[in-house]
């Protein structure tokens, strides 16, 4: 039972961390609860569908369907996170100011909510499909199923509690810093996802270069440890990164920075540089 609890917990907290960050990033925005709920619900539904068609997905594209699917899901999430950060770079200050003056929720932040709902949905879909497959395996095995299933359900609950803790922790950040902090978190989250996506393309044989491991810090922190796994999800920590993963990671951060600078630029606010 403990084994099942741990496996499910570890899958759930990856999605849970992302949900926690998204909730903190949308603090004070009206209708965010609805959008995040839609994201989670769609993700769970999608996870079940993906699990049911796991065989077909694996066999698709001459056996690299699963890698392409994961790479695409992660790639879409990266684009959505970039769009959110660019949008916030342009409008974040107004929203923060408005929230301070009217002292309650604002509706203007509703636009990037759709992007973040997609991110939440995709995170739940990816991790959730593994939980579904794992629990299905337990069911199929029969006899010892009940205690394992109890473990699985407890794992989901523990993961949900962890999401709440993440959110509560981020809420402790003073309101005037929250946009800056969540923008950084989202940038690092996106960079980590981009590196993962690139690795899936490499595993699929779509990319065939830069697959050598550049360094090894597994003696300091391994992704097998809980903290290592949290760092993996949160900032994309990889103990043995390849050149390709590093390129995707740094490239995403640079692209994010450029995009946010461009979005922040307001011609009327500054002298025009031809």
């Amino acid at each position: 039972m403990l084994g099942a609890l741990i496996i499910v917990f570890r899958e759930v907290i990856e999605a849970g961390l992302i949900i926690g960050i998204v909730m903190a990033a949308t603090r004070g925005v009206t209708s965010r609860g609805r959008w995040i709920t839609i994201g989670v619900a769609a993700g769970i539904l999608g996870a079940a569908v993906v699990a049911i068609f796991a065989g077909a997905i694996s066999q698709a594209f001459e056996g690299i369907g699963q890698e392409l699917f994961n790479a695409t899901v992660l790639g879409i999430a990266v684009v959505m996170l970039m769009w959110h950060n660019a949008w916030m770079a342009r409008h974040g200050r107004e929203i923060a100011a408005e929230m301070r003056t009217i002292g309650h929720e604002v509706s203007e932040g509703a636009k990037p909510l759709t992007a973040l709902a997609v991110v939440v949905g995709l995170a739940v879909l990816r991790e959730g499909s593994e939980v579904v497959l794992f629990l299905y395996g337990i069911f199929a095995q029969g006899t010892s199923g009940l205690s394992l299933l109890t473990g699985g359900v407890l794992g989901i609950l523990a993961g949900a509690a962890f999401t709440g803790l993440t959110y509560a922790g981020l809420l402790a950040i003073p309101q005037r810093y929250i946009f800056a902090v969540t923008s950084w978190l989202i940038a690092l989250l996106a960079a980590g996802m981009a590196a993962q996506s690139a690795q899936f393309l490499y595993n699929a044989g779509v990319i065939n270069r830069m697959g050598e491991t550049v360094w090894d810090t597994s003696w300091v922190l391994s992704e097998k440890s809980l903290f290592g796994q949290l760092m993996h999800t949160l900032i994309g920590y990889v103990s043995q990164p390849t050149g390709l993963q590093l390129l995707a990671y740094v490239g995403t951060l640079v692209a994010m920075y450029v995009l946010m600078r461009v979005a922040r630029y307001r011609p009327e606010a500054r002298p025009v540089r031809a």
Binding site: S58, E130, G137, G205, G211, S218
Partner: protein, 110 residues
């Protein structure tokens, strides 16, 4: 801005340009009763290797390894190809994540 695009285009070229040596040799691992056979598989170092993983159990398994940078679900009664490497000589652990107690193995690159 233009130099940024130049760098991006160059990076894309370096990454996407077809590499000369694709994985050629084939290796096989079989999952049965949530165990891998062989539990230790020798592969050549410093080249890409394709391993065919056959899951002959009825339940799905997830081939997972941080060291090999692979996570791949293999549905029950099916097989999948896992591409790894190029590896430096050494030992690389992998597990079947859904049955980690029994499904363990190691890839030896030499």
């Amino acid at each position: 801005m233009r130099s940024f695009f130049t760098v991006a285009a160059f990076a894309a070229f370096v990454v996407l340009a077809p590499a000369g040596a694709r994985a050629a040799d084939d290796f096989t691992l079989t999952i049965k009763d949530h165990k891998f056979t062989p539990s230790e598989l020798k592969v050549p170092a410093n080249k890409r290797v394709a391993i065919t993983v056959i899951n002959s159990d009825a339940t799905p398994e997830e081939f997972e390894s941080n060291a090999l940078k692979v996570e791949k679900v293999i549905p029950g009664g099916s097989k999948a190809t896992v591409r790894i490497g190029p590896l430096k000589p050494g030992r690389y652990d992998f597990v079947g994540e859904f049955h980690e107690d029994t499904a363990k193995g190691v890839i030896v690159a030499e």
